[in-house]
Structures are given as C-alpha cells and as structure tokens.
C-alpha cells in the first residue's frame, strides 16, 4: 500500500466539546453583569465566552486558547460605540450624514480588516503557539476596495473573483507560529457557487410571479375577495421569499465556506471542510424558531450547536503531525478593529 516511501495520510479531527448548561450560565451571567455595570462588564463577558468556546474547540484532542485581555476589548468597544452612536444620531439630525458615515466606514474597511485579523490572530493560540497576521492596509485596500469597485462596475461579473481574492488575502497573511499559511484557491468554484445562487433566486422570482398571478386569478374568479382567507394567503409569497433567502444564504455559506477552507494549507497539512447546505438550512431555520420561541434565551444553545456543527465538519489531512510547528514571540495589539467589525457586522470571515 505504502508505495515509493510516501507516508500514509493522517486525518486530524476538530471537535467541539462545549456543554449547553455550562455555556448558558456563562452567557446569562455575562448579560446580567453587563447590565448591572452599565455595559462595562461586557468586555469581560466577551472574553469569558470566547475562552469557553475556544477551549472546547479541539484539534487532535487539544483545545484552542483565546488570549485577549478585557481592557483591550473595552477600549475597542468604546470607540465602536461612539461610531455607532454617531451613525444612529446623524441619521436623525442630517440624513446626508448617514451617507457620509457609510463612505467613511467603507474607506476604513481595509484598516478594519487588517486590525481585526491581526487582533484575532495574535490572541488565538493552540498548544501555546500563537497565530499571526501580517497583511498590510495598502494591499487590503487594493483587494477589498479595488476589486469591490470592479465588481460593481462589471455589474457583479467580477464579484466571485473578488470574493476569492479576499479569501486568498486573508488566508495568505496568516501564520501559525512561524509557519506561513498558504492559500490554494481557484476562481472556478466561486463562479459556479454564485451562478447557482443566482439561478436559485431567478427561479424563485419566476415561481413567485406565477403563484401571485394564480392567486389573483383565483380570487378574481371567485367574484370577490374570500373573507378572512386572503390575508393568510398573502403571507405565502412573503414566507417563500424568506425561506429562499435562508436557503440561498445557507447554500453560499456552505459552498464558499468549503471552497475557502479546502484551500487552506498549513505546512504539509491541508484543511478539509464538509459543510452541507441542507444541514445549514435546517440549523438556521430551527435557530430562528428557537430564539423567537424562547425570547432569545436559546441564543446560548444556538451558539453551542453551530460551533459543534462547524468543528465536526473540519479536518486537517496530511503527512506530518501538526506538532512540527515552531512558535514566535507575541506582540501587543489593540482591539478596536475587531470591535468595530463586530458592531457593524462587516463581513471579514474567511
């Protein structure tokens, strides 16, 4: 079997071992103390929640470590809150300010991406070896704003390529210890994923027009509006749009997530991701129902089950053991970028 001296491929599993009850208590205590301290504790709460989730995300039996200090996060939060407050107030006082704000935020995107990636990488460790990020703002501007503008100008045709370049930029500038992480990505898969998503949306729109026309014809044939029933029927297209939105969202998450992660190469090891759109559709739908039905209390349970799903669909495959990586000295980095991206939900995921 073992011809020409090649070593057999070994699979290193990710796993998630967090427990609902434990995390629920940490989550609810964080919420309670945050309100009791007028929000100041939220930084401590965030660190505790992340430490719990990181330490229960295991690779080859060892959990990850989140090292950020609450004070760094608090500083970032204050700045992010001022930005958010300015954004919210400006819209009331001077509507044009909102546009200016969005433009400023857009211009800041490269800096936010770099700062957030650096903060998160430097504060993540596995077996006492920290990750690192050394991307430059200039290159981030070219990749995020330059290709973003091209995507708009080309009416979206360049978008899948721009998305691939974004993923490549983020991956390639990460290090694990002193091992540079490489990106092995091709635009083909990205184009296929976005093409299929577009077809799903177009197909739904055609179906929607057909259903609406049929409904109008039926109610027209009945002579007058059927009392009571028409209101419920009118909800059918809305529900359809929402379900399709979640389906397309889940499909892209699974496809783009798999394409990106499968292109991550750490030394002799390669990531293998097995996310499935139908699993994600079920998870997202049931998450929303659970959160609405429990007035938000299911948030902790949602966090745990999503972390478990992601971890159990991720592997490292290769010839060498992951212990053959050397460490590098840690450097202190502020949290502002990370917190700004959290509050404004800027998508800088892989």
């Amino acid at each position: 079997m073992n011809d020409r001296g090649t070593m057999p491929l070994t699979t290193y599993r990710f796993d998630f071992t967090g427990r609902n009850g434990e995390y629920f208590r940490i989550w609810i205590v964080s919420l309670f103390l945050s309100i009791a301290t007028l929000g100041i504790y939220s930084a401590w709460g965030k660190v505790r929640k992340k430490r719990y989730l990181y330490s229960h995300t295991e690779l080859d039996g060892t959990g990850f470590e989140f090292r950020a200090t609450p004070l760094a996060i608090l500083r970032g939060r204050v700045i992010a809150l001022v930005l958010l407050g300015g954004f919210a107030l400006s819209s009331h006082v001077l509507p044009i300010m909102q546009l200016v704000f969005i433009l400023i935020l857009l211009a800041l995107t490269p800096w936010i991406v770099v700062a957030a990636s650096r903060f998160n990488a430097r504060n993540s460790a596995w077996r006492n070896i920290t990750f690192g990020f050394d991307g430059r703002v200039g290159e981030a501007a070219r990749v995020f704003l330059g290709f973003g503008a091209l995507a708009v100008i080309s009416l979206g045709f360049v978008y899948p390529y721009a998305r691939m370049r974004r993923a490549r930029y983020i991956i390639e500038h990460h290090r694990f210890g002193e091992t540079r992480i490489r990106a092995d990505l091709l635009p083909g898969g990205f184009y296929l994923a976005y093409l299929l998503a577009t077809l799903m949306i177009v197909g739904t729109m055609i179906l929607l027009v057909a259903v609406t026309t049929a409904m109008v014809l039926v109610s027209g044939a009945a002579g007058k509006q059927p009392s009571g029933g028409s209101g419920a029927l009118a909800l059918v297209p809305i529900a359809m749009v929402y379900i399709i939105y979640i389906a397309v969202f889940a499909f892209l998450r699974a496809q783009i997530g798999n394409l990106t992660l499968n292109g991550v190469v750490v030394g002799p090891l390669r990531c293998r991701s097995t996310l499935r759109a139908r699993d994600l559709v079920w998870l997202y739908m049931s998450n929303i129902v659970a959160i609405l039905a429990t007035v938000g209390l299911a948030t902790a349970w949602v966090t745990i089950r999503m972390a478990r799903y992601r971890a159990r669909n991720l592997y490292l495959v290769g010839e060498a053991a992951p212990e053959d990586y050397a460490g590098a000295a840690a450097v202190h980095i502020g949290a502002t970028g990370s917190e700004v991206s959290d509050l404004f939900d800027v998508d800088i995921s892989l």
Partner: protein, 337 residues
C-alpha cells in the same frame, strides 16, 4: 503539600509534555519524564481567570504554559485576585445564581423599556435647543418633499380659509408656536415634525366633513408638538437601539432578524403611547374652544370604515400599526364629549 498533573507546552513546538507539579511552601516543583525537575517560585507563575468547564492555564516565567484540570489545586495555590472574575465564576458555577441573574436581567430590561427610557427622554427633549429641533424638522420636511409629498393642490382661497381658522384656533395658546402646511400625499394623513411644523395632506382636508373635524386633526398634531413627541421618539429609539445592541450583540446573520422583531414591537408601543397623549391633549383643547371631541370620533370612524373597505383582513397590519386600536380611540373621544 499539593500535587497535581498537567501538560506543558513550551511555545516552540506544538507538542505537549506530561508533567507533575508539587507545591512545597512558596516553591512549585515541576517534573516530567522528558524534563529535568525544576523549582519555580509560586509568585512567578500566573494563573488565568477561572471559568467553569475550562481547563486552567498556568504561565511560567519563560513563556511556557501548563494546562491542567486540577481546578481545586490551582484555586488553592493561585486564588483569583480580580473581584469581578471571582464574582463571575461564583455565579457561573451555580444554577440558582445564574437563574437569579436571569430574573433580574429580565426585570431590569422591562423597567428600562417601560419606565426609564420614557422618563429620561422627556426632560432631555425639553432641553434640546429650539434651533436644533427646527433644523431637524426642516431637514425631515425636505426629505419628505423629495420622496412622498407633492405640492398641495388646494386652491389659494381654500388654503387661506383653513389658515385663518387655524390661526383663530391657536390664538392665545401657549408656546411653542406651530406652523400649518398642506401637501398632497395620496392618503389622508397629518403629522407633526420637530420644531412645530404641522403637515395636513389634501386628502385629509377632503376627508373632514366640517371645520370641527379639521380642528380636531390640528389639535391632535399640536398635542404632538407640545409634548416634543418627535424628539422624544428619536431619543427613546436611540436608547432602545443601544439596549438591543447590548443584549443581542452576539446575534449574527440570520438570528439577527429574531432580535430585530422585539425592537420593532417596542418602538410601536412608544408610538402608541404618544398617540394617546396627543389624543388627550386634543380633547382638552377642543373643549377649551367650545368644540366637542365627538368631531374627532366621527372623523376616525369614517376614516377607519374607508380603510376597512379597501382591505378587510389586515389584522397583522392593524396589530403593528402605530396608532392605538381605532375603536378604543373613538370610544375615548366619545367618553370625553
């Protein structure tokens, strides 16, 4: 003398080495199969803040790390100094404490939404300079003119006639002063902008059967202006946004929608309270001028009938509508006459 086991990670290679630790007075002895035994002063080792269910991490002076599940031993040797971390750990470890925290959280959220925000917004809104309010009103009107309003189609005589009635009606009323303007919008509506601009749509003017009904509409809007409702709504909504961000800061992607729904419902609740307040003001003002609040009830009844003829099973819309249940408002107006 305490002894326990752990895994040592040197920070150079991603490999763990099993080690035994033993505390002897101020010294901690660390030994492992592949390591020469050494002794380190206890104060030179730092332990991370404890979290239930998370292994403890001990940092050694040279950057090495020891991970251990010996929670009791670490807690005894390196008791956490940070009072916040201690309190959090104590609460997180006990179901009854966590659930008490939950109950207090729910209660305080309800208190903030129902009482603190409305109560705090009122004095703040009165302190905002009239210049700022007038400016906001002008900006909003400019935006509405560009989007949903078109110039009024009322004739000059009609406009003058209504302006005169309005002037007589508000003559002798207290500050802040208001200004009446007409616009076409496609639906019967009236609104009060910050700074005292009152807009009545042509369609609303046509919907009124007599002067009393027109003045009832104007009185309701003056109620909004006098209560600084536009400003208070802005302040309360902003407070609500901050609260929601604090509560649902974890929510991302699809679950964000689940967090947005309660915010919409709460905003609706605030609007309804202001509508009731403006109604009360209108009833009192109408009575002061010898008019009956019945005019208000008549107009409301006619408008709601027309609305229902258009679209009969609009329960969701009615539920989310910013105005209190029309029936209730009509009943209140009739009680007042």
């Amino acid at each position: 003398m305490t002894a326990f086991e752990g895994m040592l990670f040197d920070g150079v290679r991603a490999t763990g080495l099993p080690v035994q630790l033993e505390a002897r007075g101020d010294e901690v002895l660390i030994a492992g199969a592949a390591l020469p035994p050494r002794s380190i002063n206890r104060d030179q080792i730092t332990a991370d803040a404890p979290i239930p269910g998370v292994p403890r991490l001990l940092r050694l002076p040279g950057g090495e790390l020891i991970e251990t599940d010996a929670h009791d031993a670490v807690a005894a040797l390196w008791p956490p100094k940070d009072i916040l971390a201690r309190a959090a750990f104590a609460m997180e470890s006990r179901w009854w404490a966590a659930l008490t925290g939950l109950a207090v959280t729910a209660l305080s959220v309800w208190l903030i939404v129902a009482f603190v925000l409305p109560f705090a917004a009122e004095p703040v809104s009165k302190r905002i300079s009239p210049g700022v309010e007038a400016y906001m009103g002008k900006q909003t009107l400019a935006l509405l003119d560009r989007t949903i309003f078109s110039p009024s189609a009322l004739s000059e005589e009609e406009t003058d006639d209504y302006q005169e009635k309005y002037a007589q009606f508000v003559d002798g009323e207290d500050e802040p002063s208001t200004r009446l303007e007409f616009r076409a919008a496609g639906t019967p509506n009236a609104l009060a902008l910050p700074g005292g601009i009152i807009i009545v749509t042509d369609e609303m003017v046509h919907a009124t059967a007599n002067d009393a009904e027109f003045l009832a509409v104007v009185a309701h809007e003056i109620g909004h202006v006098r209560g600084h409702h536009a400003m208070r709504l802005v302040l309360q909504d902003s407070g609500l946004a901050v609260l929601m961000t604090a509560l649902a800061g974890d929510a991302v992607g699809t679950t964000l929608l689940a967090a947005a729904l309660p915010a919409v419902l709460l905003k609706t609740r605030y609007s309804r309270q202001f509508e009731s307040e403006a109604d009360d003001y209108a009833f009192a003002m109408l009575k002061r001028h010898g008019e009956s609040p019945k005019a208000f009830a008549d107009l409301m009844r006619r408008l709601s009938l027309e609305h229902h003829a258009d679209d009969e099973s609009d329960t969701l819309h009615r539920y989310l509508s910013t105005h209190p249940a029309t029936e209730e408002r009509i009943r209140r107006a009739e009680r007042e006459q």
